[in-house]
């Protein structure tokens, strides 16, 4: 975000003593997400034992790796003024499907291919319904979320699908330079999707569509096709995340990744992706992902009951929406 010095931007503040604090708050909210996160991070490093250790940092990164990957594509989805609730179900279904296929064929890549393909198909269905039949994205993906979760249970008969294939366990368990594979993949996603957003016509069109769909259409952008592609890519990445998650826990679990979609969306919104579409930045999304991961990690280190963690996650999401509202006020 660039600093604006335009008069329209200025919200009139009534004369009084609170204007300085309000301005300071607005400043912090608007421009210094990274700054706030770093401050919290440093404070935690000093106050929470074992927090700032290599082992814990790697554990933290691993724990957010799936959220991080899918947050990249969710960023595109939100930037184009859409919404996708089905990613959690896709993660679970892709995991179950890949486990089943690998057990059947004893071939890792067949399992991966099946997972990516299923993700692509579901994403494509989402996109076509939303873009061409013009059904509200929230409702569409709410429906597919239920259906795909159902598919996951049907495929696995409600049981976890254990895998003994060594390649599969090695898939997410291997590491390079001391950093495990899922983290590398997440980093790759950040780099690739960051580049796509900033430097390609695909990324800039996404922002244009989110900023004003009708203007984008009249300017010669194939809006419908773009939206299908955005959902399709989202499905593929969610499928990939599903395989990695299944590999990490060495089984496909039909009830895994519950509430995953909400974590991904909160990470994006925390990272400054506007729910109104049209503005997004990969740096923000990375920070958003790490805020979520850090909160969970610290609560674990402090031995806070898992029940309370729901409370905190909800509070963070709420805070994120309030931040979004503050940021876009007057737009």
């Amino acid at each position: 975000m660039k600093t604006e010095t335009t008069p329209e931007r200025k919200v009139a503040s009534p004369p009084g003593s609170d204007s300085f604090w309000r301005q300071l708050l607005a400043f912090l909210l608007e421009y210094n997400l990274v700054f706030i996160f770093l401050a919290i991070f440093v404070a935690l490093a000093f106050s929470v034992r074992y927090f700032f250790t290599v082992q814990n940092m790697l554990g933290l990164a691993l724990s957010v790796s799936q959220i991080g990957m899918v947050a990249c594509t969710m960023m595109f989805c939100l930037a184009s003024r859409d919404f996708d609730l089905s990613v959690g179900s896709i993660v679970a279904f892709a995991g179950v499907l890949s486990a089943t296929v690998i057990n059947f064929t004893d071939n890792l890549w067949a399992g991966v291919a099946a997972a990516l393909l299923s993700g692509a198909i579901i994403g494509c269905v989402n996109g076509v319904i939303i873009a061409y039949l013009r059904i509200n994205a929230l409702i569409t993906t709410l429906a597919t979320m239920e259906m795909v979760r159902g598919l996951a249970f049907i495929t696995s008969h409600g049981q976890a699908v254990g895998v003994s294939n060594a390649d599969f366990i090695y898939f997410a368990g291997s590491s390079f330079l001391g950093i495990s594979m899922p983290i590398w993949m997440t980093i790759a996603c950040f780099v690739v999707f960051g580049f796509l957003l900033n430097s390609t016509v695909y990324g800039r069109n996404t922002l244009a569509i989110g900023g004003n769909p009708e203007a984008a259409r009249l300017a010669g952008i194939h809006v419908e096709r773009m939206r299908v592609v955005i959902f399709l890519v989202q499905g593929v990445i969610a499928g990939l995340a599903g395989v990695i998650l299944a590999s990490r826990i060495t089984s496909g679990q039909p009830n895994s990744a519950q509430g995953f979609e909400l974590n991904v969306i909160s990470a994006c919104v925390l990272g400054g992706v506007s729910l109104k579409g049209g503005s997004a930045a990969i740096s923000g999304v990375i920070v958003g992902v790490f805020i979520l991961g850090t909160a969970e990690n610290v609560m674990n280190l402090l031995n806070i009951d898992a029940f309370y963690q729901y409370l905190v996650r909800g509070a963070i999401l709420l805070a994120a929406v309030v931040v979004d509202q503050q940021r876009t006020r007057g737009d």
Binding site: E4, P7, S199, T200, V201, N205, A215, L218, A219, I221
Partner: protein, 500 residues
């Protein structure tokens, strides 16, 4: 005692700009006072100060002899001031009665008393001389009628001072007349009316006095418009002389560039057939709802045609989507700049390159930023687009500059052959209008076929080589430049029962 209004030496600064510099403005009861000036002259800021949305840095605001300090919009409303903004605020799914009485609906132990509401609202509407059914939902009304409901709402709050910000910018001729009648009624009742508009004809027709702002200063105040010429007002507004803002330049015409035959759609009910030659500027005139905008959408492929065909340079094209039309060299500047022209939160650069980049670069995927910046800077200079930088978000630009950006988007393409502009100068100040007319002629001189849709007759008379008139979904007449007259065009455009 009706309140008079006085604003003395009002100054308002924003970071880096002095939006208003010791502006003085006063208006008397029972008069319509015009407030004019180019975009960015400070009209909106002044209205916002009057409406309590901004607080002035210095200066005083006196209503009915009492000095006031408005801390919020509510305090301004309480002092009897109503600002009718360009964008209206209403609940589309509620009825007129409910909208009028919103906030104090008649009820009986919490149960809404619809009959009382309708009766009360009907009484108010009648007293104001507005013939509307209080049971009609707002969304079923025309924009003019919605505006009237808004004004009625202000009157219900006992407003003595009513400011109208560009009220006619989206009204048709007929609707404008209805609005004028209401404004004159209010003047008779002794209200103070402040009328902000770009249309000088309306100012002369409706207003008693006029204040001109330029760059945040009061340039002139005319207590009476008698003896004031149009050219004088324009000069005061722009700060320089513009003899003929149209500056019509005759051209030699080429071969037939675009040929439309038997095109029909939802609103264009009768097959539309016409053609435009290379280098020709054809004006389309018609009332709102006559199908003129839809016809343009049909040609551009933005709306699917039911039947008919379009030929460019003799070659038939099939435009199912704007992309197809663009590939065939058609450019389109839509009617509603904000809703369908600009991408407001993106930069000037992105808005200019939006179309060109779809085909540029390696298979239209990677962006050549260096090239885009060069192109943008060139257009900013060539079209004199006023922006602090190419990175500025376009929504902070004035209407005229936004329109220039959209034009630049099309000029950026090398092979544009047909340019369609729907209301190219709506809400744009005189200076920018002049520049846009110049661009239209430049495009025509380059050999483009230019189609201009407008509801401002003087504009079409000023720039078009030929005029086509639409009425009720059909092209009904063609007028050659030598026969242009407002009377003729209007009588052809009005439905039969009103023509007399």
């Amino acid at each position: 005692m009706p309140a008079s209004l006085q604003l003395n030496e009002i100054t308002k600064r924003f970071p880096g700009v002095r939006a208003l510099d010791r502006v003085t403005f006063s208006a008397e009861p029972g008069s319509v006072h015009a407030l004019i000036g180019e975009n960015g002259a400070g009209k909106s800021t002044l209205l916002k100060i009057l409406g309590g949305i901004y607080q002035p840095d210095s200066g005083s605001l006196i209503v009915g002899g009492v000095e006031r300090h408005f801390v919020s919009a509510a305090s301004s409303i309480a002092a009897g001031i109503a600002i009718i903004h360009q964008e209206l605020h209403y609940v589309p799914n509620l009825t007129i009665a409910e909208n009028l009485l919103l906030g104090h609906l008649p009820h009986h132990y919490g149960f809404f008393r619809r009959r009382d509401a309708v009766r009360t609202a009907a009484g108010h509407l009648q007293r104001m001389g507005v013939e509307l059914n209080p049971r009609a939902k707002l969304k079923t009304l025309s924009i003019a009628e919605r505006q009237m409901v808004e004004i009625c709402k202000a009157l219900l709050r006992e407003a003595q001072i009513i400011a109208l910000d560009e009220p006619t910018s989206s009204l048709s001729h007929h609707e404008t007349e209805i609005l004028f009648r209401l404004v004159r009624d209010l003047r008779r009742q002794g209200k103070i009316l402040i009328y902000v508009s770009h249309r000088l004809d309306e100012i002369f027709e409706l207003c008693d006095a006029c204040t001109v702002l330029r760059d945040g200063h009061t340039v002139a105040t005319h207590q009476s418009l008698a003896g004031v010429s149009r050219a004088q007002l324009v000069e005061e507004m722009v700060g320089r002389k513009i003899d003929d803002i149209y500056n019509y330049r005759p051209r030699t015409l080429g071969t037939t560039r675009v040929e439309v035959s038997d095109l029909t759609g939802k609103q264009v009910t009768r097959p539309a057939t016409f053609s435009v030659r290379a280098g020709e500027v054809v004006g389309f005139f018609g009332l709102v709802g006559s199908g003129r905008s839809e016809l343009m959408h049909l040609i551009f492929g933005a709306t699917r045609a039911r039947s008919g065909s379009v030929k460019i340079d003799g070659r038939p094209i099939r435009a199912r989507h704007p992309i197809d039309a663009i590939r065939n060299g058609i450019a389109f500047c839509p009617e509603d700049r904000k809703e369908s022209g600009i991408v407001p939160i993106r930069s000037v650069t992105e808005n200019i390159n939006l179309t060109a980049r779809q085909r540029a670069g390696w298979r239209g995927f990677f962006i050549d930023f260096a090239r885009e910046f060069k192109v943008t800077d060139r257009f900013i200079q060539r079209l004199a687009i006023k922006t602090p930088s190419r990175r500025q978000k376009i929504r902070f630009l004035s209407g005229g500059n936004q329109q220039k950006v959209i034009l630049a988007r099309w000029l950026n393409l090398a092979d544009v052959r047909v340019v369609i502009m729907d209301e190219p100068t709506r809400g744009i100040d005189v200076g920018a209008k002049h520049e846009i007319y110049n661009l239209i002629f430049e495009l025509a001189e380059r050999g483009c076929a230019v189609i201009v849709v407008s509801s401002e007759l003087p504009e079409l008379i000023g720039i078009a080589d030929r005029m086509l008139v639409m009425r009720a979904g059909a092209i009904t007449a063609e007028i050659a430049r030598d026969d242009f007259s407002e009377h003729l065009a209007l009588s052809l455009a009005l439905p039969d029962e009103q023509a007399a």
